[in-house]
Symmetry: C2
Subunit: 361 residues, 2 copies
């Protein structure tokens, strides 16, 4: 690890402090360094609050003069909720700015760098670029495609079933894999399930700890079937529930849910009664959600995968064999020549299970 | 790696030279060392030929006096096809004997070590013991359970199918995985398939190279259905074909096959027309086969796994999704509570595929 990477890594760690609170803005961390020593640090704490660079510069005061700024994303150069960061950087007397990755937002997209350079600041871009992109993959997807980053999670047996023939799926995977999933929840703006999963498990879809950030809990519910008593619409976190439903749902129930703080978004559905996913994702982006962790079931998985809207597949393969059961991806059938193709990442053993990561080709 | 491990590792490498030719005997390598320098080396080249220790001692002559012998398996102490190795070791003046693992053969099983110690030789056992056991896992299974070591190989899609709904399975996995399988073939005494696979693929089941050892090719064929023109009963290697068949097969066809050098073994079958596997494995052990690489199809996999006769499951998971297809383990159905349980080993990425290794709990 070079010196640049060392301090960029620190900026990335600081950025994570804003996880969940900054959307649809990116998470950003900033470190001011002189003589390989930290002068000050900052992060973007939540949407609308000062940016990471401003926080670091503010803390450093006059000491910022001559320092090097490390920031994982290109500093902004436009008036949004806060004034442009580049102005503050130039005013502070910072000598060097080291950037992880260019901000894809058309209002920035290299202009921030240009302004800094024009002001005589030495700028270096691309330090831990891959990590800087990964940490804000939701933001990148949101800016470039106007939809959230979609992670699809499935827990399957060694022979590929998400449940036995009776529909039982508790517990296919073991505790370490389930803990891992709970941590993944808090890395996404929202968690999504279909009504099959809601009726089967009555889940609360909460992350490992409910002290901090609670991601939105999205339900695909075409006709607003969910009973009032179910956890997702009755627990203490119901303001963090988003129901995607069609015009067919009863107006009275929509009104009732909305009155308790539940978010109900109207989206299109198809002739088979399935919520149209690409439409839904645009609605979710407008709602400010930049990343969604989809936890099934098989019908949702099948829809997501055939519509090629999965950015990352997380497959937890348990050491169990059933012979027969419920297929992991429902509602379609392909020949080998027309199979949906993935790229596997490096596999990991996670407790008793295997964790496979894939991206759609 | 200690000095002992260094030379034991060399013995293990030498042992591999006999792979395929020594069964039902183990593979054994021996190294004679003085002052951390090799005096001579030997291996057990084939069944009935001199043992590794004798080869090394013979080459060393008088120089063996005072040397240290490294051998992966306890030297024998009985008159078989060759005289006892312990006698030759004692006569040679060897001072130390370093052994990988005790020979489980009841005729040896620690007696070889006792005789050496009684003769004043310093004996050390258990260097690279795990590796020494793995290299002869077929021999260990054969001696202890009177059946071969069974490896079950399956190539599946990400959703657990061994073929699409039309039955097509070429090619689920990519070239590196297929090459890996061909190398695995030459590490086993025999390869086994069911008639489903024979009819579908007309395979030749040959290893990567046909210059060296050709493993036996076993077909489970209850009524001797295989057509005369099929590769396994008509190619140049037909003497390396073993057909497991029941009493129901036509005597004329048995005779015809035997006359061309094909091995036909009579085994029991059940009411559903399936060859009884535990019986078959005893027959194969009597035939001198200590390890079998089972390459499917789904019915064979299902039988093997439910009868719990799989010692190692090799699962190649391709980056393809079909939605529906042919299940990897046919002919049974379990609830999640009664699932067959495995232990996963460390997963590996192999070309575009994932290689998972499991043992039955």
């Amino acid at each position: 690890m070079t010196i640049h990477e060392k301090w960029m890594n620190r900026a990335l760690i600081l950025a994570e402090k804003g996880r969940g609170y900054t959307s649809p803005n990116p998470v950003v961390g900033a470190v001011l360094i002189k003589n390989d020593t930290v002068i000050s640090e900052g992060c973007h704490k939540k949407f609308g609050a000062p940016h990471a660079e401003l926080n670091a510069i503010g803390k450093a005061g006059n000491n910022a003069k001559g320092a090097t700024l490390y920031v994982n994303l290109e500093p902004c150069c436009f008036h949004g909720k806060t004034p442009p960061c580049v102005d503050a950087i130039i005013r502070s007397g910072i000598k060097d700015v080291i950037i992880g990755i260019i901000d894809p937002n058309p209002q920035v997209n290299g202009n921030g760098i240009k302004i800094l350079k024009d002001a005589g600041i030495v700028v270096k871009v691309g330090i831990l670029e891959k990590e800087a992109k990964t940490i804000n993959r939701g933001f990148f997807k949101y800016i470039k495609k106007n939809r959230p980053w979609i992670t699809l999670k499935l827990a399957v047996t060694a022979d590929g079933f998400i449940a036995d023939v009776t529909g039982k799926s508790k517990w296919i995977t073991s505790e370490p894999a389930r803990q891992f999933v709970k941590r993944q929840r808090s890395l996404h703006d929202a968690i999504m399930v279909g009504m099959g999963t809601v009726f089967k498990d009555n889940p609360s879809l909460l992350p490992e700890s409910t002290n901090g950030f609670i991601p939105y809990r999205i339900i695909l519910d075409e006709v607003l079937n969910i009973p009032y008593r179910f956890k997702l619409v009755s627990d203490d976190f119901k303001k963090r529930t988003v129901i995607l439903t069609s015009q067919k749902s009863k107006k009275e129930k929509v009104k009732q849910f909305k009155s308790t703080g539940i978010n109900v978004l109207n989206v299109a559905s198809d002739d088979f009664g399935w919520i149209k996913l690409p439409d839904s994702f645009r609605s979710l982006a407008e709602f400010g959600i930049t990343s969604v962790y989809c936890e099934g079931g098989g019908q949702v998985a099948g829809s997501l995968i055939t519509q090629k809207v999965v950015d990352e597949l997380q497959l937890f393969v348990s050491p169990k064999i059933l012979g027969e059961g419920i297929s992991s991806f429902g509602g379609f059938m392909r020949s080998l020549d027309e199979a949906i193709n993935l790229n596997w990442g490096e596999p990991i053993k996670l407790g008793q299970d295997i964790f496979l990561k894939g991206t759609i080709v």
